[in-house]
């Protein structure tokens, strides 16, 4: 096994997902299969190879500093599940003890 249920639980927490016990088991099995398959990456010699995050050799793509009109507030809030007084509203945010 490359990955345990506990590992998957931790990853679920980081991803803000929750699973039932049986879902967790199924997921663990499926993820394990993919990670086992990914073992093939260890057969490659990558010494001296640079990682490639971008395929195009672009650099310094920037824009001039000028203010442009913003979105009208009604449009910005149009998709909000809950709003109040022009704010987006969310459940309480716990912070510390």
């Amino acid at each position: 096994m490359k990955i345990t249920c506990k590992d998957v639980e931790n990853v679920a927490l980081l991803s803000r997902l929750e699973f039932s016990a049986s879902e967790l088991e199924t997921f663990t099995g499926q993820m394990d299969a993919v990670l086992q398959y990914a073992e093939v990456l260890n057969k490659v010699n990558v010494d001296g190879v640079e990682p490639m995050a971008h395929v195009l050799p672009l650099k310094n793509v920037m824009r001039v500093d000028e203010a442009k009109p913003s979105l009208a507030r009604e449009l910005a809030l149009a998709n909000a599940p809950e709003q109040e007084d022009g704010y987006f509203k969310v459940p309480q945010v716990m912070e510390g003890e």
Binding site: L13, N60, E95
Partner: protein, 481 residues
């Protein structure tokens, strides 16, 4: 056991660009909630960031002013964590290749110079604002989010853990603030959040080199908080260690009202930020020519300004240092001097009466109700002998509240100094006649008695008599009799 304190500061400053770092929304402070937003800074599905060139320019400016190496190749990364003020639940920042590294800043504390290392400076985006958040606010079981601030460009300046006292931390912060103001990259208003400071504090036994466990302190919203917060945390950690305990590596928040720090440890595990290179932005390559161009166009820094004030105006090191802490104050001095006032006198007034009134009213020199020209005129009146220094202070008070010019006030209140000898002699003679005991005391050798007589003369003249002339004419008349 004696401990030494090890402090590192992380300073975030909002850059005063016209638009946000990755979109064209305005960065203007204080707009109604959610009116400076667009699909990009809202993190809507499908949007992409485009870097604001001014942010790179300002980052290089700051890097050069802080003696950093400008990395020729730097890139952006995503820092992943969930929080409602972060629309995409990741922050676009710079992780392993920040734009500036290996700088330093020299500070002065108690007459001694100390070099504080600067590890790195990087560009990143600010998050939004939460209103009514926190479990401690019992009335609300919800929070309101304003995304105006998301995407405002930030520079994060990270120091080496080179500071050993709250005073040093404060001096460092003050100097950084001054430099940022002089570079004109930020308005550095801690009260508006455009300058923020987090402190990493740890203790180690005196004389050792191994770093102790550090605690990170947040919510240090003013210079005072920084100093008090560090002092409190130092004492707290010392107590923990003295009791045989271990300092926990955690984030703590400073409560200025109560004067204590509280742990922000959440029940969830520590964040794993899972950094990855930002695929939607391409690398930033600052070539040597560009760096040279920015260096050549750097605005005058506080140290250079201080030297210039000493050379041009003959100000003392101390005075020049105090005046140049704030660019706005140094500018005020220059403007006042341009109106023909003597620089040293202006400096004295700025460090004295002006600062006193600014502090009393909790405002900055930018909001001073007395303009540089007006101060120059007041000083001119003293210089000409129209009013005495003492009367000038009264006039200044009036200028502060009424915003009227000095001359107008002097006329309205009839405060012109009496410098006519015959007028003063008349009053002096009257005082001598009315106070024979004091006269006798003086003649008997009690020098102090003359103070009383001078006081009486000033009183008779309603403070308007020229004090020097009163002194000399009084002695003359006393001699005469």
């Amino acid at each position: 056991m004696d401990y030494e304190i090890v402090i590192g500061l992380e300073i975030h400053t909002e850059l005063k660009t016209k638009s946000k770092i990755f979109c064209g929304c305005s960065t203007k402070f204080g707009s109604p909630q959610n009116t400076n937003v667009c699909p990009v800074c809202l993190g809507l599905p499908g949007v992409l960031p485009v870097l604001n060139e001014k942010v790179v320019e300002y980052a290089v400016r700051v890097g050069l002013a802080l003696n950093c190496e400008i990395l020729p190749f730097s890139k952006f990364d995503r820092k992943n964590y969930y929080y409602p003020d972060l629309p995409k639940n990741f922050q676009t920042t710079q992780y392993d290749l920040p734009i500036c590294v290996n700088g330093h800043l020299d500070i002065e504390v108690d007459g001694k110079t100390k070099r504080i290392g600067i590890t790195r400076i990087h560009m990143e985006e600010d998050a939004g604002k939460l209103v009514h958040s926190g479990a401690t606010i019992t009335s609300s079981d919800s929070a309101l989010v304003d995304y105006n601030r998301t995407g405002v460009p930030l520079l994060e300046i990270v120091s080496e853990p080179d500071m050993s006292s709250a005073e040093e931390a404060r001096a460092y912060l003050e100097k950084i603030k001054a430099i940022l103001e002089y570079l004109d990259v930020s308005d550095c208003k801690m009260e508006e959040g455009s300058l923020r400071c987090d402190a990493n504090i740890s203790l180690r036994p005196q004389g050792t080199t191994k770093l102790g466990t550090k605690a990170e302190m947040k919510n240090l919203n003013s210079f005072r908080s920084v100093q008090r917060g560090i002092e409190y945390e130092t004492a707290r950690q010392e107590e923990v260690l003295e009791d045989g305990g271990k300092v926990v590596q955690e984030t703590r928040t400073w409560d200025e009202g109560k004067g204590i720090s509280l742990s922000m440890r959440t029940k969830e595990q520590a964040n794993d930020y899972r950094y990855l290179p930002e695929p939607d932005l391409v690398p930033v390559i600052v070539d040597p020519e560009k760096v040279a161009e920015i260096r050549a166009n750097l605005p005058e820094l506080p140290e250079a300004r201080k030297q210039r004030l000493m050379a041009d105006y003959g100000l003392s090191t101390y005075d020049a240092a105090v005046i140049t802490v704030s660019k706005a104050m140094a500018d005020y001095l220059d403007e006042s001097v341009a109106c023909q006032a003597d620089a040293k006198l202006v400096a004295n007034w700025l460090m004295g009466e002006v600062s006193k009134h600014l502090n009393n009213d909790s405002i900055t020199i930018g909001q001073c109700p007395v303009a540089p020209k007006q101060l120059a005129e007041l000083i001119a009146l003293i210089d000409k002998g129209t009013i005495s220094n003492k009367i000038a202070k009264t006039v200044f008070e009036e200028m502060w509240t009424s915003r009227k010019d000095a001359e107008v006030i002097v006329k309205e209140k009839g405060l012109v100094q009496i410098s006519d000898s015959s007028e003063i002699i008349a009053i002096v003679d009257g005082v001598i006649a009315a106070n024979p005991q004091s006269v006798a005391d003086f003649k008997a050798g009690k020098e102090k008695a003359i103070g009383f007589l001078v006081g009486q003369t000033m009183k008779q003249s309603k403070g308007k008599a020229n004090p020097d002339m009163v002194n000399s004419l009084l002695r003359e008349r006393l001699q005469g009799n």
